[in-house]
């Protein structure tokens, strides 16, 4: 197979980073990204893009740690380079605070982020309702810049982008040899995965350039994440809700909760409300499959179900998916040479 044709469906952080990894591991591949939405209208664009891992109950911890490590290392190098501002990658320091003792004193990622340590008494005084805290420095991927930067890198490799709604993976079997399914929440419909469920998140994006530190309540519900131009205030975790419409009462509630942690947010300007559906699953589905219909085979690589942790593990899962694409290519070449015999 001279130039395998690979279709990546989905143009959020998972789709674009997977496509990029494929161009890196398989330079002879001809890659196309197909999606009904591109930045700034993807789920990724709503997210703050903070590198703080979400725990997947059914994925082995060592695998989650490897994904996070690979992602952190990759982004760390970009943040340190001349491309940092264009890519939207920057370091941010801050605190994760707890009202009651955290389940784990040392989360699995504590040695990957920078300078992880318990907060001092003096630091905790800023949060009178919280009794424990962790201070560390991590990375943030601002969207749209990061997605636009990925798109630019992809176009430079000759990858085509097509705005197109794929209703059935079989639509693609004539034009493409391998399909990579990075459709996030779309996989519920596209491949009928009933283990995939939305966790609705509403956030506010505000102008408050004096907020330089992130603050996250360990319960995961209230957070303040300063980005390049805007601070993301969150949030909600509404399991099973499919609504993409902002809720005014929720907006008020998020604002109040964040102001109680950071009173200066009262002066925030230009409040924008966004909603995203975290494509959640007990484990991220990074898996090969060969679909079969009427004697025709279609190799598919799945890479979806990252829930609240897409940014944190995106590069790690993208690399794994790219390896699976390589395996598909080998399998196709094997079967095609067998066919020639």
């Amino acid at each position: 197979m001279a130039s395998p044709k690979v279709a990546v469906v989905g143009a959020g952080v998972i789709g674009l980073s997977t496509a990029l990894c494929i161009t890196e591991t398989c330079p002879s591949c001809s890659v196309a990204v197909l999606s009904d939405q591109f930045s700034p209208n993807t789920t990724s664009d709503v997210a703050a893009g903070m590198l703080i891992p979400h725990i997947y109950p059914d994925t082995p911890i060592h695998r989650q740690k490897q994904w996070f490590q690979e992602t952190f290392t990759y982004l760390f190098a970009i943040s340190n380079s001349a491309e940092a501002s264009e890519a939207g990658i920057h370091l941010v320091s801050g605190w994760q605070i707890f009202k009651s003792p955290p389940k784990e004193e040392l989360p699995f990622w504590s040695d990957i982020v920078l300078g992880f340590r318990p907060m001092s008494e003096a630091e905790l005084q800023k949060f009178p309702q919280h009794r424990f805290g962790q201070a560390f420095t991590t990375l943030k991927c601002d969207c749209p810049p990061y997605l636009l930067w990925l798109e630019k890198r992809l176009k430079a490799t000759g990858t085509q982008m097509h705005t197109r709604k794929v209703a059935d993976l079989w639509e693609l079997h004539r034009e493409y040899d391998i399909v990579v399914n990075c459709t996030g929440m779309g996989a519920h419909q596209l491949v009928g995965d009933k283990q995939l469920f939305p966790v609705r998140g509403q956030v506010l994006k505000v102008r408050a350039p004096w907020v330089t530190q992130f603050i996250r309540d360990g319960d995961g519900l209230t957070y303040i994440y300063p980005g390049i131009h805007r601070v993301t205030l969150g949030g909600t975790r509404e399991k099973g809700s499919w609504s993409l419409s902002p809720d005014a009462g929720t907006t008020r509630d998020i604002f109040d909760r964040c102001c109680s942690l950071e009173p200066s947010l009262q002066g925030a300007q230009d409040i924008e409300v966004r909603v995203g559906l975290r494509p959640s699953r007990q484990c991220v589905r990074v898996q090969r499959e060969v679909l079969s219909q009427g004697g025709i085979k279609l190799p598919v690589v799945h890479n979806y179900g990252h829930g609240a942790g897409g940014f944190s593990v995106h590069r790690g899962t993208a690399k794994e998916a790219a390896h699976l694409v390589e395996e598909c290519i080998s399998a196709l070449q094997g079967s095609s040479s067998r066919a020639k015999l």
Partner: protein
């Protein structure tokens, strides 16, 4: 009881406010006046980035370390107040970088979360082998000075836009006490060979992705002669110039290049940052802050002067401690003049 403050930088305005807060209710006849040739946004305090950070060493001057601490604690206490944003006050974390092991700074227990950098953090800064991380405060002069001015105006303090040429000019007209907060130009009022300019130049850029301050140090060349990057609420300040004895307030092309090249080497992404301004100013440098009383004979009049100048590159850092000390000196003067039974507030 008329008190004239000469100078409307952070030192003059904060001293005036501190005095106003402490004495106005005790002494209804108190009339405060501020005289200055430059007001915000044209003072030295307006040009400074506004990072709270003393010099590395206090050279045994514990008094100054105490004033720094009082200032930090005072500002920390204001952080959650509704005024914080208007004051230009916010928390910021960042890095101090060295090419050789540094001694612990005098302020390590004043700031929050002070610690050494980990090897992985040092990877961010090739060429630097040691460093610190801590959380400190920003107090932006361009917001703080207007906030102080508003508070003072609300309380009936009067402002006069004029260059004061002598203490006599001010004290002669019936002023009882003069506060000399004239910073760099104190020498015009009373010669002081110990007061010298520490010229600085900064480039202002738009680099909103930078969320930490980064101060590098070259222990051999002295303070602020090594690149620094300080993000503010409107722009990021790039600097690294300290020229002792240089009175020029003109921007130098050579210094611009030095700042630009060294800061871009430190943070490569700065190459893409848009330059929005440039400024030069004179740090009113002195071996130690001059904060003391002086009785000056002017003709047949005795004038009481309280000096509060010579804060070098740490005016914002030390201002409140000094303001309170100046207020205490005023209290002593008022007591002597039988204006007060006992001075207010705790004695230090």
């Amino acid at each position: 009881m008329r008190v004239a403050v000469i100078g409307a930088g952070v030192i003059g305005l904060s001293s005036a406010l501190c005095i106003q807060e402490q004495f106005q209710s005790l002494l209804p006849s108190l009339q405060l006046e501020v005289y200055a040739d430059h007001f915000t946004p044209h003072t030295t305090s307006d040009g400074a980035a506004g990072l709270w950070q003393p010099y590395l060493s206090d050279h045994g001057n514990l008094q100054e370390t105490l004033w720094n601490k009082e200032t930090f604690d005072h500002l920390l206490g204001q952080l959650h107040s509704p005024a914080a944003k208007e004051m230009g006050l916010f928390l910021i974390s960042g890095y101090n970088l060295f090419r050789e092991p540094p001694p612990d700074p005098s302020w390590k227990n004043i700031v929050l979360g002070f610690r050494n950098l980990t090897p992985k953090e040092l990877e961010l800064f090739p060429g630097y082998s040691h460093g610190w991380f801590n959380t400190a405060l920003m107090l932006e002069g361009r917001s703080y000075l207007p906030w102080l001015t508003n508070r003072l105006t609300q309380r009936g303090v009067k402002f006069f836009h004029k260059k004061v040429e002598s203490f006599q000019e001010v004290s002669g007209g019936g002023v009882d006490v003069v506060l000399n907060c004239s910073g760099m130009r104190s020498g015009d009022l009373q010669p002081d060979p110990e007061l010298q300019p520490g010229r600085g130049q900064v480039i202002r850029v738009l680099a909103p992705w930078v969320k930490h301050f980064i101060i590098t140090h070259d222990l051999k060349s002295g303070i602020y002669n090594s690149p620094y990057v300080i993000p503010g609420s409107e722009f990021t300040v790039l600097g690294g110039i300290y020229q002792h004895g240089n009175w020029s307030e003109e921007n130098s092309a050579k210094d611009h290049k030095s700042i630009w090249d060294s800061c871009c080497q430190l943070l490569p992404a700065l190459q893409k940052a848009k330059i929005v301004g440039e400024w030069s100013g004179l740090r009113p440098a002195r071996p130690s802050v001059r904060l003391e009383r002086e009785s000056i004979r002017l003709g047949n009049l005795q004038a009481e002067v309280i000096h509060n100048y010579g804060h070098g590159g740490f005016g914002l850092t030390i201002h409140w401690g000094c303001a309170m000390a100046a207020a205490r000196l005023l209290g002593t003067i008022l007591q002597e003049k039988k204006q007060l039974a006992t001075p207010p507030g705790p004695r230090l």
